[in-house]
């Protein structure tokens, strides 16, 4: 028994030190789970960053150009070409007007069409003059419209329509069968000489045919319109206008540019002068003449071409010049604002004599050829999309496919060089997003965000600068309102208010922080904005009076005899201060209309009567805009969202200052305020800075309030009485409309990245500052 007992004590004493297996197991597993959690947070953050970068990376990639099969038309004198929608069956047209169709795949001949235009046989006095072939003297193709325009030696033109009939074979393979139909035959001018050049364009009023002929060694340009009017019965009635001369005053004609809209014609002279003839009534009259490379220079123009949209022309010179001129409103000498041509871009170019400018379809890119090189460039942001060697033989014509995925070069030797082009974001570049860009139609280079419009020819504008500006502006006004209030409240609550009040106010502020921002935005947009709009001056008066009235209250308080002050216990001073301030604020509110009528009376432009309205006064005296949804409203409401978090964190930091320091300061005869200002605030400064940073982060990323209360106009003005568009609001508003993968979509992601970078930079800077301050005011 005794033995047994001693054994059990021994056992007990041994087992006391043993750790149960489950404790160890749980310990090791919990360690692993926690590690896993930590790693997955890091992975998630980097994954998100990686996703953002992967979305914006394609924006900054250049075009990828790869050669496709070469089609040899084996016609030495090919001058023009065209193709079907799929690029499967290109055709070429030689100097005689013969058309050859070949398969792009293997170059095999599909069809030839021989041009044979004869004069009508005339029987005169029993003798019949046989029909003679009329040689073709001018050829022009409009590849994307499937048109071939032939000018003949007798002064007439033939317009051929190339159409492709699509059939599907049994095995599902698409077969194309080309047909060539004569669409129009007739004379344009009254001259019978050979046509040197012909154009056929479709303007808003109908078809316009132009021809260039020579008379007495002079170039003569003649135009003729075909106007089609549909009657009530649906029958089309075509009226052919009388021929009219164009640019009859021009000598030394070098080349003529006709935009597909037919609203103006650019005539280029050998002297390098460009004369613009604008469509007016039924004829064209001179609107402007200019020298693209500078008035002083007598620089000839080597090549020129209209850019898609027909309001800009690229001119190429002989000495490495490449400039873009465009139509935009310009102030004339008489003060009128008129749309005139002006230079908007001056590009660095390929070395050598310019050999051609060929625009892309559907975007603002063009291919320029010079010195044996080819370059694809975006006109708007001047970025070079691609550069490569040009074929050796002289280039006749370059045509881009409709959707900018292919371009082909027809050379004089009858070879058609074809390339595929992969360039999803030709309009994107650093300068597009962050630089000043001179867009077509704008009066000057500017930062513009305008991502969509109703028109197809519209060029989207993706400058992020106004959005970054708006973000900073909104944040600035929010913090301007929130930081003083939140920090003063934190100081007051942590060191002056009685603890029992503090225990009520702090949780209350935390509840305020959890108020959904959509509710705040709703209140801002539908309640506060109209209120501020109609009571602006009284509200500004109340804001202006708050600080002076508090100071006045403090002054009066300090003049009260000590026994009176002692009666109000420490921490109860607000009971005296509060009614005082409320009274002052009420007085200021009542004074508002009086101040408005005294200082802000202006003559109403509509009625001609004097009215006292600050909004009208602001517009008239500063020339700036006034919107109901302005920075002031955003500042108030976003400030309201920021105050609670700044307050909570700052209050914690201030409350955590050791009591020993406070007693030390008080024991040295410092007042409560001196203690707070000279000891507590410096000691808690790193925590206060953190609070401000978190408030900044909240304001920068805030979305719903700014969406609902700013008006979302992407303007760049410091004016406190207009709105803004912030990066976050921009993403929220536009992402649902942006198609995945397109430039707009990726630009929004770039905006998100900027937002991230903005907070990252500011937070890093603040963190460094905070570490320094903490080092300086560190507590042992």
């Amino acid at each position: 028994m005794e033995e047994n007992q001693s054994k059990s004590t021994e056992q007990l004493s041994e087992s006391r030190f043993q750790v149960s297996r489950s404790t160890l197991l749980i310990d090791s597993w919990m360690g692993r789970i926690i590690r896993l959690g930590g790693i997955s947070v890091v992975v998630a953050v980097f994954g998100m960053l990686g996703f953002l970068v992967s979305q914006i990376f394609p924006l900054f990639s250049k075009a990828k150009v790869e050669p496709l099969t070469l089609v040899d038309f084996t016609q030495a004198s090919s001058v023009a070409w065209g193709e079907d929608e799929y690029g499967e069956l290109p055709f070429s047209c030689d100097t005689k007007g013969n058309i050859t169709f070949r398969k792009a795949k293997d170059g095999s001949l599909v069809k030839t069409w021989t041009a044979d235009f004869k004069t009508t046989p005339i029987t005169l006095e029993g003798q019949t003059t046989p029909a003679v072939s009329i040689p073709v003297t001018a050829i022009k193709t409009y590849p994307r419209d499937g048109l071939v325009l032939l000018g003949l030696a007798d002064g007439s033109v033939r317009e051929l329509k190339i159409s492709y009939k699509i059939t599907f074979a049994k095995n599902g393979i698409r077969e194309l069968e080309p047909t060539v139909d004569l669409q129009y035959a007739g004379k344009i001018g009254e001259l019978n000489g050979p046509i040197l050049e012909a154009w056929s364009v479709k303007g808003p009023e109908g078809k316009l045919y132009l021809s260039r002929q020579q008379k007495d060694g002079h170039d003569v340009i003649t135009g003729r319109r075909l106007v089609e009017r549909k009657g009530l019965s649906g029958k089309a009635k075509v009226t052919v206008s009388e021929p009219f001369p164009i640019a009859a005053d021009v000598t030394d004609l070098e080349r003529v540019l006709v935009p597909s809209t037919a609203d103006s014609i650019l005539v280029i002279r050998k002297t390098g002068e460009v004369r613009v003839y604008d469509n007016s009534e039924n004829t064209f009259s001179l609107m402007q003449s200019f020298k693209p490379f500078g008035e002083a220079k007598n620089q000839t123009i080597a090549a020129a071409g209209f850019i898609f949209g027909n309001v800009s022309v690229v001119f190429q010179g002989n000495q490495n010049e490449e400039v873009v001129w465009s139509l935009y409103p310009q102030k004339q000498a008489d003060g009128q604002l008129l749309r005139r041509w002006g230079k908007i871009h001056d590009c660095e170019t390929l070395a050598g004599v310019g050999q051609g400018i060929f625009p892309a379809a559907g975007n603002k890119c063009y291919l320029s050829v010079a010195g044996g090189r080819m370059q694809i460039r975006n006109m708007t942001n001047e970025s070079i999309r691609w550069e490569g060697a040009a074929p050796a033989s002289p280039i006749q014509q370059v045509v881009f496919s409709r959707n900018y995925n292919r371009f082909s070069v027809l050379c004089e030797d009858g070879k058609l060089y074809r390339w595929s082009i992969t360039d999803h974001h030709p309009e994107a570049s650093w300068s597009t997003f962050f630089g000043k860009i001179w867009y077509e139609g704008a009066e000057a280079p500017d930062y513009t965000w305008q991502s969509s419009s109703g028109s197809d020819e519209f060029e989207a504008k993706y400058s992020l600068v106004p959005l970054i500006y708006g973000t900073v502006k909104g944040t600035f006004y929010a913090l301007l309102f929130a930081i003083p209030i939140a920090l003063l409240a934190a100081i007051y609550v942590s060191h002056f208010l009685r603890p029992e009040w503090k225990n009520v106010i702090k949780p209350l502020m935390e509840i305020m922080a959890s108020l959904p921002s959509v509710v705040l935005g709703f209140l801002a947009g539908l309640w506060l904005a109209p209120l501020v709009d109609t009571h602006l001056i009284p509200i500004l008066c109340v804001i202006a009076i708050l600080a002076p009235s508090a100071l006045l209250a403090g002054y009066v308080w300090s003049k009260l005899p000590q026994p009176v002050r002692r009666r109000v216990g420490a921490g109860w001073e607000f009971a005296y201060l509060f009614p005082f301030i409320v009274l002052c604020a009420y007085g200021a509110w009542q004074m508002g209309p009086l101040i408005e009528s005294t200082f802000f009376t202006v003559k109403d432009l509509a009625s001609g009567q004097n009215i006292s309205d600050f909004r009208e006064w602001w517009r008239q005296s500063t020339g700036l805009s006034y919107d109901a949804r302005n920075s002031l409203v955003v500042g108030f409401v976003m400030g309201f969202a920021v105050i609670p978090i700044v307050f909570t964190i700052a209050e914690d930091a201030l409350s955590n200052v050791p009591n020993s320091l406070i007693s030390g300061s008080l024991a040295l005869g410092a007042s409560r305020w001196q203690t707070v200002w000279t000891v507590v605030v410096p000691t808690a400064i790193s925590g206060i800075l953190s609070a401000i940073m978190i408030g900044f982060g909240r304001a920068v990323g805030e979305t719903m309030i700014v969406v609902m209360a700013t008006g979302n106009t992407a303007v760049m003005e410091a004016n406190p009485f207009n709105g803004m568009r912030t990066l976050s609001a921009n993403i929220a508003v536009e992402l649902p409309e942006a198609a995945a993968g397109e430039t707009h979509f990726r630009a929004l992601f770039l905006g998100a990245c900027c937002l991230f970078a903005l907070t990252f930079i500011v937070n890093t800077f603040a963190e460094i500052l905070r570490q320094r301050l903490r080092e300086r005011f560190k507590m042992n």
Binding site: L661, G664, G669, R776
Partner: protein
């Protein structure tokens, strides 16, 4: 018993006002709990008075009442009166801030502000509105010299005070407390966190300072009380048990409880 009596002690200066601080029927409550029983005694000018007693006996409470630091605590109340130079410190016309400028204090744990040594020393002058650099410089040097710290820190006055050693920090707090030349210096266990060498320096300092200041020191160390003080008050459970010259208290205590405490039988 105590070996303190073999330590030489400067002779008490008896030329000053004998009732410099006059405590009359003073009792004190934290809420409902009575912390100090009604007590009456006087502290003479330019002498060192030590408050001794076991923990929770009320010696610190009394000390903190002399500059009304207890005002920071909620729910306190008192009876009787404390007068300095005949003026009640509870006089409604008296600003508590001016009282604290008159009565400096050094705390148990050194509490330099996270500022430079210079700014710590001149803090009291700064809050009084003195911004004349020459005046501040002079006050800084004088105070640091009085606190026997000048030679150690004169080359790094702009360094952060938190870089000093524990003993230096406590001397800095003393320099800070005497910079605006108060009349009374309260010391709440100033050496409790220091090693013997630092303690020795502070005690020497107290000897120096008592020629100019009336010093009240709370201490747990009876040797220290014997070494530095002219008069000693012994508290027990919120009561003043005995108050007399230090020699009398340590050589020939009048009360059995005092005898028991100083001989180390309790406390």
């Amino acid at each position: 018993m105590s070996n303190a009596r073999i330590q030489p002690r400067p002779v008490a200066d008896t030329t000053g006002r004998p009732d410099f601080i006059s405590i009359k029927n003073f009792g004190f409550w934290y809420g409902d709990k009575k912390a100090l029983e009604s007590m009456t005694f006087d502290i003479p000018e330019r002498q060192v008075v030590a408050f001794i007693g076991p923990s929770g006996c009320g010696k610190s409470t009394l000390l903190r009442n002399l500059n009304r630091m207890n005002d920071l605590v909620d729910g306190i109340s008192h009876e009787g009166d404390i007068a300095i130079k005949g003026q009640s410190i509870y006089d409604p016309g008296l600003e508590v801030i001016s009282l604290r400028r008159r009565v400096g204090m050094v705390f148990q744990k050194s509490n330099p502000f996270p500022k430079s040594i210079y700014e710590n020393v001149v803090f009291a002058l700064r809050v009084m509105g003195v911004n004349n650099r020459a005046v501040l410089d002079e006050a800084c040097e004088t105070s640091l010299r009085k606190a026997a710290l000048w030679d150690e820190v004169k080359d790094r006055l702009n360094d952060n005070a938190l870089g000093l050693s524990g003993g230096q920090m406590q001397r800095l707090c003393i320099a800070r407390a005497i910079a605006n030349r108060p009349e009374i210096l309260l010391m709440d266990e100033p050496c409790s966190a220091l090693d013997p060498i630092a303690t020795g320096k502070i005690e020497e300092l107290i000897h120096e300072l008592k020629t100019q200041f009336t010093i009240v020191i709370v201490t747990h160390s009876m040797q220290q009380a014997a070494r530095v003080s002219d008069r000693t008050a012994f508290f027990y459970l919120g009561k003043l048990i005995e108050y007399d010259t230090t020699e009398k208290i340590f050589m020939n205590p009048g009360q059995a409880q005092t005898e028991a405490y100083i001989s180390g039988r309790f406390g």
